[in-house]
Symmetry: none
Subunit: 409 residues, 2 copies
């Protein structure tokens, strides 16, 4: 079950686009028990793609290609695969029907270039692309396989989840991969590693513990191979949870927002947010979860202090005296937004994300987060990093985690 | 001047870390006129690294390795390079002095593991690492070169800028890379390709046109090599812009939110958003741009219809009669948010992102977007896709683009 990913596209080589596809695929496939041996990125040139496929088949059983399958002339993957597998293109009516149904939904006209997407290599097995026009193509090479799919992240993810991973699981059976995740927060990676050093050395043979640090929390992954090891897995997991102590949050490997949503729904609670420095990002994260409208009511993004006063009724004197980034201000924000949106819970944040706006007393990275539940307020000051993008991400994670912990008995 | 980048590290393969090094290097080197032919990522295994180097030297003149040069046992690049170049390690006093000076600055004790960093391959040319302990190693392979450097982004960037790029420029004298981006919207990729078919075939030799489709817009990239071709580049660019017609938005290759920010700042305008289905995502996108507080005031996220009525003063009868996803509702939202936040511009959106909530008349993917500028409202109905994640992204892009176009004379 050795996998190589080949990403195709000049935009990846010249540094215009980050190869997030390879990261996503690496993570998903690893979790399913596949082993990624290499990721190769090449440009939109036939010879380079062929060379890359040749090398891949030397070291991998499964070769996954992304990109170069659009309708324009710089998209050459399909023709290159014909060359590689010594085959030709043939018109496929089912692909055309699929494309037509997609164009119908979007209410746009089908032209010849898009119609050409229905030409597929004769010896390829076709998987229909449910969310785009380029079909997914599967080739056998002895006992090995090559699958070509779109580079558009959403199309790639949809077909990987719905079609390709299930198909590879049946064919290659990377069975017996056991894993359990542990969401941990409030401790640094090195402090956690020190605490777990003895546990790690005493793990049964074949067991491993991986650290996946994110901004503001760490996902631990305990894993082993073989169904027969399930009892040991449970035993080691219990031992681990004890060691994690109060830093342990959940055994879920859902996103933080999905975990929060689950807790709110179970406890029949509702939530709203009042955001300054995160600019609506916490509300966005909460609403990425399907059905979030059951518990999320709305948000007031008060980037400007005047909006804090007028829409969130924060006392002007408090802002003047304590500053916009203070316990008093986030508490007033959390109270007012819960009141005005009539929600049982709320989240309020105010901080300095940078690069500008820091002072000696309150440098870039200073954040106050207040969460409200059951009429009680919990306010915590944090110091996040020095980069804006990272700070927004970390602040949102910390805020969602803070409410999750308030909702956890 | 063909370059291959080899990134070493299991964390890259299992999707724990995004390979931002390769993106940065790709961009810097391309701008200096080097051609990146491939980026290969392999794990911390000697055989895999050797295989990757072998393949690299077949297609590239310059092989740049990052990673695997730390002081711990899983860092094996140095030993692997000894194996590859048939050489051994020798102690290098200058490297030790460099390490000692760095430890002195950080005020920490030097241990044996770090001291071992001063052992370097006998036939390598050493570049001192000014900001870390692992030396940079250069090897000649006939007329080709291999350079090994740390994977820590800050260390890699420092040595690339200060040492490696200047050195490669002297040795390989690359010619300039010319590129120009064109932001296009309101047309499908295939319709655009059809329109540009003749232009593409008539491009001068060495010129190429690439399509980078995103949700709701397309980035076109016209490129060529060699400073001498600048006049042709300008000529072809003008021709292209004419063909793009009203679908042309900008020659910028910034993000949409950065482009919007630039326009707002230049025209001394301010903006606020009233978001239903996007749940704060548009506000988030606008505030990812450093300094956004100069023109962004805030947002009201009215996920619940009651919030639309109470906080955005949307008329209850309008909602009952026309539905929350309607021209009338987004127009009232845009008007009220601009009024209450005292901004010259505003964006309001309401739509059905799915998977639930669609009706026969208004299926999942139905979106109304209203943008306000100069007291005028522009309201457009769109049909986005059928997946929630994609719909949120596409709606935000369309909304930001709609305001950008209103601000473009």
């Amino acid at each position: 079950m050795r996998v190589e990913i080949i990403s195709i596209g000049d935009e990846l080589l010249i540094g215009q686009v980050v190869n997030t596809n390879a990261v996503w695929m690496g993570r998903e496939l690893t979790q399913q028990g596949f082993i990624i041996v290499a990721v190769t990125t090449v440009g939109d040139r036939s010879d380079d793609i062929i060379k890359a496929i040749d090398v891949s088949f030397e070291r991998a059983d499964i070769v996954l290609l992304t990109g170069g399958v659009g309708p324009t002339t710089d998209d050459i993957t399909k023709h290159t695969l014909c060359r590689y597998f010594h085959t030709t293109l043939d018109f496929n009516n089912e692909v055309l029907q699929n494309i037509e149904s997609i164009f119908l939904k979007r209410n746009i006209q089908l032209n010849q270039l898009t119609r050409n997407q229905a030409f597929v290599p004769v010896n390829a097995t076709v998987i229909q692309n449910k969310v785009g026009t380029a079909p997914i193509l599967c080739f056998n090479n002895g006992k090995k396989v090559l699958i070509s799919m779109p580079g558009v992240p959403f199309e790639m993810k949809t077909t990987m989840r719905d079609d390709i991973i299930p198909r590879l699981q049946v064919q290659f059976q990377p069975k017996g991969y056991l894993k359990q995740s542990y969401l941990v927060c409030g401790i640094t990676e090195s402090a956690l590693a020190t605490r777990l050093a003895t546990f790690e050395t005493q793990l049964p043979a074949g067991f491993s513990l991986a650290y996946l640090p994110s901004f503001g929390f760490i996902q631990l992954r305990l894993s082993a191979w073989g169904e027969s090891r399930k009892p040991e897995m449970i035993q080691q997991g219990n031992k681990l949870k004890q060691l994690l102590g109060k830093e342990f949050v959940s055994e879920s490997d859902q996103t933080l927002e999905a975990l929060l949503g689950e807790k709110l729904r179970k406890q029949q609670l509702t939530v709203s947010t009042a955001e300054s420095c995160t600019g609506g990002y916490i509300a966005h994260r909460i609403t990425t979860v399907p059905g979030a409208s059951d518990y999320f009511k709305g948000s007031i993004v008060s980037y400007d202090n005047r909006i804090k006063e007028e829409l969130l009724q924060v006392d002007k004197q408090t802002i003047d005296k304590k500053g916009a980034v203070s316990r008093e201000v986030v508490e007033q924000m959390a109270e007012h937004v819960a009141h005005t949106m009539k929600t049982s819970c709320s989240i309020a944040v105010s901080g300095i994300m940078g690069p500008e706006g820091g002072t000696l007393e309150k440098p870039v990275g200073t954040v106050w987060i207040c969460t409200r539940h059951n009429g009680k307020l919990l306010s915590v000051a944090y110091r996040v990093g020095s980069s804006r993008e990272e700070n927004i991400e970390r602040t949102a994670n910390l805020a969602i985690l803070q409410l999750i912990r308030m909702l956890t008995p």
